[in-house]
Amino acid sequence: MNAARELQPVQTEEQQPRKSRFAFLEGWLYLLPSIILFSVFVFYPMFRTIYLSFFLADQIGPFEFAGLENYHYILRSDSFQSSIKATVLFVLFTVPATIILALFLALLTSEKIMGIGIFRTFFSSTMGMSVAASSVIWMFMYNPSIGVFSKIAEWLGLPVIQWLQNPDYALLAVSLSTIWMSTGFAYLILLGGLQNIDPHLYENARVAGVSYFYQLRRITLPMLSPTLFFIITVSFINAFQTFGQIDILTKGGPVESTNVIVYSIYKDAFINNDVGSASAQAVILFFCVLVLTVLQFKLGEKKVHYR
């Protein structure tokens, strides 16, 4: 702020027009690094992916124009259908549960009581956990002979389940670990949203003597709705992009029950060397995310200001 005072006195009007001519170029100069990087690593590869999806291609490049053949092929293939099913189920298993758990924890810790800081730190801690580290821990917990889930099952006299090897449970097991991993981030965002609510609203409610749940329904949730809306969209998008936990825990198996779309793209492109098919799937993924993002902008327009 001192700088402002030092800079005040000099007033030269003549300099302005010359400067504004350069302003055009200068503005672009500041944006140039971002524009170049986005062009090379976001826009070009997106167009390239769309282009490749119309070709038979391997990792070297396209070799034969195929029209919509790749799309026909994947839409008819059992593998892609199971991949879509796994993705949709995965999203449904993880997103609502993550949001509800995170919201519950955020509501609990929005009370100002002694030592609340430490609980906030604990609940946000999974945000610092990498997917790889978390997956390795959960893999051990799911271990049918020595993992904690088997120990609990044994202790309760329940049958021991091969969580990651059984096609009926594998997706559920991966989802459970994912809920745990994503809660930290969702929690942090929601807690931030809760703390932005004007405390006067609650004071008035207290004077009026309304119940906690009435307050929750009439003040907290409506005021939190932009944040809630944001984190729901982000969680949906993140869930569609899941890869690491699948690669470590199940490798898409057993019998493709956890072969979510990004894993399927990865497998086709880098293991089966079928880049055409992988690109077609990537285009489908792109449209799913596009629809979700546009939905967020449209529905959240009033609350989410980017301008």
């Binding site: 702020m1 700088a3 944006l31 070009y44 610092g128 956990m129 990498s130 904690v148």
Partner: protein
């Protein structure tokens, strides 16, 4: 709040903590156990032997991986801070033709999932000869729309008079950016820096694609390697690796949790 309410709130908080923190606690506990204790399915180690921690550095070149992860995360952090703050500065303090269009381009990058473009990106990196080195691991992530929006939000709170005064005094825009704007935006830069370090330390898919030598790998890929080769024999060693890998980011998160929470909510919503 009545004291019964308070006590029950603490009880619920403690139960939630026990459930949420269990996997981390479990990993730490296993990392101190010997093979027999692990197989017995014990919950707590009998002692705090560091054998597993010593062994994990012998089984995989973990030190190299740690250095690689630190270096690439730090490079991406600095790169993102520079590139994002330059762009945010232009959006807030400069008016020029095409600015709104570029702003729209920035927004549109958020609609393109990174995974949908990974195949051509991999091909680009490969044809540039950037596989297995820091360049390929870092450069593609320097530009970040989210980071630009977050900083733009903060720059908008800086009084316009400050900028006008600097213009009048004939100070170059870049000097104004470098010596005035960046120092007063320190807290936002720190928030973005923490976020970017966390994200890049934890990155998995991209390093998996562009590194295949031990000298270039990052810790996350090291964990996968450790888990694949040690799984049958020694979980204690694997968990020691896990603990070493999560420690830096957990410390960073604990230190920066408040800042992050504030910054992320702002960047996301305002």
């Amino acid at each position: 709040m009545t004291s019964t309410k308070r006590i029950s709130l603490y009880a619920v908080l403690i139960i939630c903590t026990a459930i949420m923190m269990f996997p981390i606690f479990y990993a730490v506990s296993i990392s101190f156990m010997d093979g027999k204790e692990v197989l017995d399915g014990q919950l707590l180690p009998s002692g705090f032997s560091l054998t597993n921690y010593v062994e994990v550095f012998e089984k995989v070149p973990l030190l190299t991986y740690l250095i690689n992860s630190f270096a690439t995360s730090a490079i991406v952090m600095i790169g993102q801070l520079l590139v994002s703050s330059l762009a945010a500065f232009a959006f807030v303090f400069m008016k020029f033709k095409g600015r709104d269009f570029v702003f729209f381009l920035f927004i549109s990058t958020m609609m393109i999932p990174w995974e949908a473009t990974m195949v051509p990106n991999f091909m680009t990196i490969q044809s540039l000869g950037w596989t297995n080195n820091y360049v390929g691991l870092t450069i593609p992530f320097f530009a970040l729309a989210f980071g630009t929006f977050l900083l733009r939000q903060h720059f908008k709170t800086i009084p316009k008079e400050l900028y006008e005064a600097s213009q009048v005094a004939g100070i170059s825009r870049f000097r104004f950016f470098w010596t005035v704007i960046l120092p007063i935006s320190r807290s936002s830069l720190v928030t973005l820096g923490i976020y970017s370090f966390l994200t890049n330390w934890n990155m998995y898919l991209w390093p998996l694609l562009v590194t295949n030598t031990e000298s270039a790998r990052t810790v996350q890929i090291g964990l996968k390697q450790l888990q694949t080769q040690e799984i049958a024999s020694d979980w204690g060693v694997v968990m020691a690796g896990v603990v070493i890998v999560i420690l830096p980011t957990l410390i960073l998160l604990f230190a920066g949790q408040k800042k992050l929470q504030k910054g992320l909510t702002q960047g996301a919503l305002k």
